[in-house]
Symmetry: C2
Subunit: 341 residues, 2 copies
Amino acid sequence: MVTRPVPTPASPALYDVCSVGNAIVDVIAECPDSFLESYGITKGAMTLIDETRADFLYQQFGPAVEMSGGSVANSVAGIAGLGGHPAYIGRVKDDQLGAIFRHDLTASGVHFSTPPAQAGASTGRCLIVVTPDAQRSMSTYLGVAVDLSEKDIEPQLVGNAAVTFLEGYLFDKPEAQKAFIKAGTLAHAASRRLALSLSDTFCVDRHRAAFGELVRDHVDILLANEFELMALYCLPTFEEAFAAARAQCSIVVGTRSEKGAVIAAGDELVSLAAEPVARVVDTTGAGDLFAAGFLFGLTQGCPLSTCGRLGAIAAAEVVSHYGPRPQESLKDLIHRKGIQL
Amino acid sequence: MVTRPVPTPASPALYDVCSVGNAIVDVIAECPDSFLESYGITKGAMTLIDETRADFLYQQFGPAVEMSGGSVANSVAGIAGLGGHPAYIGRVKDDQLGAIFRHDLTASGVHFSTPPAQAGASTGRCLIVVTPDAQRSMSTYLGVAVDLSEKDIEPQLVGNAAVTFLEGYLFDKPEAQKAFIKAGTLAHAASRRLALSLSDTFCVDRHRAAFGELVRDHVDILLANEFELMALYCLPTFEEAFAAARAQCSIVVGTRSEKGAVIAAGDELVSLAAEPVARVVDTTGAGDLFAAGFLFGLTQGCPLSTCGRLGAIAAAEVVSHYGPRPQESLKDLIHRKGIQL
């Protein structure tokens, strides 16, 4: 093990988690599988698109529903729902979708003070096709979200958050990559921890070397699904990739959909079954809410197995309905499941 | 009976129904009853609010979901879902919510060619509180919707629609009242029929005299719930108010929530039970979708009882989920219910 020791901060954290991510409003429509084929959408993936393609795809959509989304924004909304105190850094424009994003995040109980852009591209949006198998396929026009840079990383948030949580999806632009390094440096200077979600295999494939350096040199807590881990380390099995990640990060969380999750913290290893779900309606947000439960448990000092269970329960809630954010009180839900924090 | 005879148009209608109404995007949040008390919202009613109040109430809302709405816009979306060919006239702005409204209506299969406003107030929105009893309480900032005037009444739509369907909610401004008269005049000149939804008791109370004249002099088909009919005629019982309406309109549809509906066409009288619903989730759109089913049946030449049954089935679908528009194919649904058109 060459991992960084768990730091001891000088003062208690004001925020449990501060997420840095793509601020996105989701546009959700149910479509048959043939829709994906007709318009060349990769099933289960997140594909970046430009505004022309976004307008075209939206025209092909049936009637849709708009809900605030964004991967690690969903996570902090979940952490607030669990009773935590999270913060968020991300870029919206001063437009109607930006106001919706800000409202929903703030109303969830998340501190969000990144000022809206007054000019340039509009607030980002993600066109989500939900097929009858509950799988979501995402086409994202990032809009102004992609303009996140070092100056958006507020030191008073990152320095006062027990964990700063970075979204792999944001890693496409050099300015955002610099912002990630700044966030990591600030977090570690305050003896806080840095977490990263790998977000998507295609995203990992686009930036494997840079992701590799980020994980090796900065990340304390790595969250990824099995395919993202295998993509990051170019290794053919989950077990090998997971071992490679353990050698680099203090904590590694590998999620495996209905096969549950594997979590390692130093020498400790926990395997978890997936939480049963009566009917999976829409898998959007499953990984984001697993991260919410896990990171919330971690910042509350729970044992690793409880952290994982919190993640599994939060993920099970979000896949049981349309949309990427919890629709019932996660705090009440975990109490009903017998977990007292 | 002093009602107008059912006219015989010169040519078949291009459109089954052309609705004229408030183009509105709904912002839906679940809230406890205490929310209504805290912010002085009248339960079950639609209250008009200004932008300041809309902004204030929205700030008090928890995380919300955005869906296109607007009373008679919901009706034409339902008619399209039943397999009909409807059109819509209403005002949105050239902004993000306006684009959402236009997209959803057009994607439903509704012809909508009213050009968006380039300046002035933004697209209207309706803040809908859904309480645990499934009742909806609406606070509406009409925005640009209220600017509808005679010039928006497209003769090629009204003249080519079997029924032109007016929304009582729109009746607050003198310009809109003039637009209604123009729509009625154009419809009758083309030997088409004019329908009106009374929309809301408070709306009727605000403009009782003007509504009375409109109904007496122009309306062929009157759709209202029992309380709206009693308000219009200042009569203490449903039976008396319904009789007063029958004396003025060729067709009167009186809806009574779980007590079903009563429909009169000349001497013919039909009473209908409400369609059973496993769980009523959100009553938003119930009246709008009853109107959709009824008017669609009427334009297809169905017997009065079938028209009513179509209304009851469409209303039952929309109250079984959140949001004011159908989420499954109404065409498939009525086939499953054994109705062949």
